[in-house]
Symmetry: C2
């Protein structure tokens, strides 16, 4: 596993701080440089040991870095990658931790000097909690990180970025940006929208009766609204497609219920249960393997 003299982390929230904590705990980097606009927040990340030094000036922060990981909200990633690339050594590698990939990778593929230096990543280890104080050194352990090379990216660069995530304990899947975005629209972004709308649509006066069922179904709706605004805008088309498939199936259920068609209702409930049970089974197998 590669040891780095210096890794720069741009954006020290939940993911950025967890990367720093994992690098330090595993002894993988001498210097871990935290970069952000908010000095008190950077200081907090430093105090908890997630980074060894901090900069509010990105250009100075990345100057000596061998690896730069951009962990800012998805709407800012492409411009931060471009700025960091321009200010760092031409040999410095770059990746990101954004929940969307097509738009970011497409924008950056248009910058020829980045082709040999940037590969997109998405560590699937988020939480409805945000902020460095929720960071954990083991956040990536046994979680999937998707790495999304564009057609022109060098296989060697891709391997180095994949090895980086593996060195933090993550499992790595390689996918195209488009395949990644379709998959996360289905299992993360559209479910987030649905959970959020369900929470928003529940009348206050009924909330007193809400229990753990409602609480679990809507848990992700507690996520940061601004982060999610950027995510859904960046992955608009795949999310719209998933919402349309969901809405069509919900309309089927509604029609069956309206018609008191017990057989069709049972069928739809059983399909949902089978899919959910398959997920639980796989999760158990992953844990025990």
């Amino acid at each position: 596993m590669r040891q780095w003299d210096s890794v720069a982390i741009i954006g020290v929230g939940l993911i950025g701080a967890s990367i720093g904590l994992a690098l330090k705990k595993r002894g993988l980097a001498q210097r871990i440089i935290g970069i952000g606009r908010n000095a008190p927040r950077l200081q907090e990340a430093c105090d908890q040991g997630a980074v060894t030094e901090i900069f509010t000036d990105m250009d100075r922060g990345v100057a000596d870095a061998q690896l730069i990981v951009v962990c800012t909200p998805v709407g800012h990633i492409a411009s931060h990658v471009r700025q960091a690339a321009a200010a760092s050594a031409p040999t410095a590698l770059l990746t990101d931790a954004g929940s969307t990939k097509s738009q970011i990778c497409r924008e950056l593929a248009a910058t020829p000097e980045l082709v040999a230096r940037f590969v997109g990543s998405h560590p699937m280890a988020g939480s409805e909690k945000s902020g460095a104080r929720h960071g954990r050194a083991d956040l990536f352990v046994d979680r999937v990180t998707v790495v999304t090379p564009s057609q022109d990216d060098s296989p060697d660069l891709t391997s180095q970025i994949e090895d980086f995530w593996r060195s933090l304990g993550s499992r790595v899947l390689r996918m195209t940006p488009a395949a990644h975005d379709a998959a996360v629209a289905a299992v993360s972004h559209a479910p987030h929208v649905i959970a959020s709308v369900l929470a928003a649509a529940t009348p206050d006066e009924h909330l007193a009766l809400a229990g753990s069922g409602w609480g679990d179904t809507t848990r992700v709706a507690a996520g940061d609204a601004e982060l999610w605004r950027q995510i859904v805008l960046q992955n608009r088309q795949p999310i719209l497609r998933t919402l349309d498939e969901f809405t069509a199936m919900l309309a089927q259920f509604r029609a069956a219920l309206d018609a008191e068609d017990g057989q069709q209702i049972a069928h739809l409930l059983e399909v949902g249960k089978r899919r959910r049970d398959a997920f639980a089974r796989e999760a158990r197998e992953k844990r025990s393997s």
Copy 2:
């Protein structure tokens, strides 16, 4: 708190077994009679200490009971209450544990001899797990049980049934059957349908990327499909209304996303977050009080 010589529990699944375990642990009943069709399953409930004796013949099982709690699936509750009432002493009280109330209470209110003996209940302590083996003596502690007297029910009868649930550790809310059904449609039944349809609509090939977010949002979809078929059919109108409100708000979100209206997207995400945060705050306060 009233001590009972004999309590009969019809249907010894998760809820029925938990009632038996709670009665025994708290020393509230001499005899706890488990009644069901499936002898091996009854024996299992007896072996784990949830009941002290078992009957597959309901008429014999309820003969000496002072209190009869019907914990069968909602589609069977009204007929089981009627049968149990006819086979038991005229002084025996009856309640149920069904997730829907209007249809059951309406059916039973039409039986004059039940007016002085039956009041409907809904202990809101379910789980996606079913079966006596998941029963727990503390299942009802600090959870809400809704008791739903019909207009003609005597206040004394209602108080006795409320005291019974309190004696198991539950908090009690009194509501009309219609108000109960509207509230649980909003916080439980419609969310169940939405979670189930979301699980069913997620393509198998994307499931590998599903994480704890998808897992939580769809958790309740693992519930027993036949139980839920009966529940949604019994609470059809309130669920249809809730689904229509949800669908209208989801269509708003979809339109905002289609139009790349970031302001409206942010607004809807924030409303969802506020509602979810309020729920989490109330849950914390309940735990600490």
